[in-house]
Point group: C2
């Protein structure tokens, strides 16, 4: 299984996906066609065109999953890219278009998976650690489970002196752990995960990630760390 799970698609002052160019070059070697899943945003055509332009330097053709029967499109693609936006909207559409199980099946059998933000959330067993507003109700929060633990993309550290009374990200994840016994990797912007079958590595920005487990102190994870042990996770969701 070959996965690239990005915390975010765009770094400040850089072009879409530019910060992850090296990882993308590596992963897209040998890929001629990418099936792009634009359903996290409302404008499927505009989103697909944007991604096609961004991936053009990699010499790949991009097909939008809204353009034809996605299963037919899948047959000619060597990679699937699930873009960011609203995770609830994305998951609802994946179920409504009966696309969730085929993605899991193809990726398990070798199709490259690239996800960013919401696309990274749906690579987890459930979307229970998304930051997004629940603007629509998917059938279930269960997602593809391409990794067996939870990811919180766009992870944000608490800000000293902030007077806002809403929960910090860390407090939200601790609430998740009160209800579920599953590790959560808080991935700061600029970082990504690479999975190559049984090997999992954190890459990208030096800011790294923060790993939360029930009953344990959160742990700082630096870029380059081998996280393959997380692939052994046997999580328990309430």
């Amino acid at each position: 299984m070959r996965l690239l799970l990005l915390s975010n698609s765009t770094a400040p002052g850089r072009r879409y996906l530019e910060h992850a160019a090296d990882a993308l070059t590596d992963l897209l070697t040998g890929v001629r066609r990418v099936l792009f899943v634009p359903f996290a945003l409302a404008d499927h055509g505009g989103y697909t065109a944007h991604v096609a332009a961004a991936l053009e330097p990699y010499g790949v053709e991009v097909l939008g999953a809204h353009q034809d029967d996605p299963i037919k499109l899948f047959n000619s693609a060597q990679a699937v890219f699930v873009g960011g936006g609203n995770t609830f909207r994305l998951l609802r559409e994946l179920y409504a278009r009966e696309l969730l199980a085929p993605i899991r099946d193809r990726v398990t059998h070798g199709t490259v998976y690239i996800g960013s933000s919401a696309g990274t959330n749906v690579a987890c067993p459930s979307i229970r650690t998304t930051n997004d507003m629940p603007i629509v109700q998917p059938t279930t929060f269960e997602a593809t489970g391409l990794v067996p633990f939870q990811i919180n993309p766009h992870y944000l550290d608490p800000v000293d002196g902030d007077t806002h009374m809403g929960e910090t990200r860390e407090e939200r994840i601790e609430e998740f752990l009160e209800e579920n016994d599953v590790p959560v990797l808080g991935m700061r912007e600029g970082t990504w995960l690479r999975r190559e079958d049984a090997t999992l590595t954190l890459g990208g920005d030096a800011a790294g990630a923060r790993l939360f487990r029930r009953g344990a102190k959160p742990e700082e994870i630096s870029s380059g760390t081998d996280l393959s042990a997380l692939l052994e996770t046997m999580g328990r969701y309430r």
Copy 2:
């Protein structure tokens, strides 16, 4: 119908509920017992004790909805207070304990309703405009509908120069409006709504609120504004 819907329970540097003391004094006149609903947090007993201490100066007795059959407790209470925490956990418990319909019924027939944060979210037709992480999956996102429009508590303005790439609150609400045709009142911290039957008023902090409607520019609402027209909302959820 008598409602007090608070954006948040605690203002910086002040005690729990202190910023809303005048509104609470007014609303709790004639109330001897308050049924407190602690299910948005994990520690029901601790949360209820905290609220009982905070409401003690108002001369009311506080019963926790976890302490006995809540319907029995309802019979001796003149007010219900639904506390903040995680909205998904709260709503799941309201359904699991068969408490949602009784709350709607009692409040429609005169029992005072006080909500803060998650307790304000569940006073809306759905929890689709909560800020919370979906740590558990309730049966449905539909809530009590004590008001016919949506509220976003802890409303936050975009921060100039912020380099974080996650969506701003305004962008999240615009995504909600792409999918649903229902007004959303973004209530800044320190503000509240008072409903007295057909009258609805924004109260509290001068920061006020921001009203979002599909296809319209967001509108600033200052404290003291009569918002009764919002009670005529005929929303359409996707």
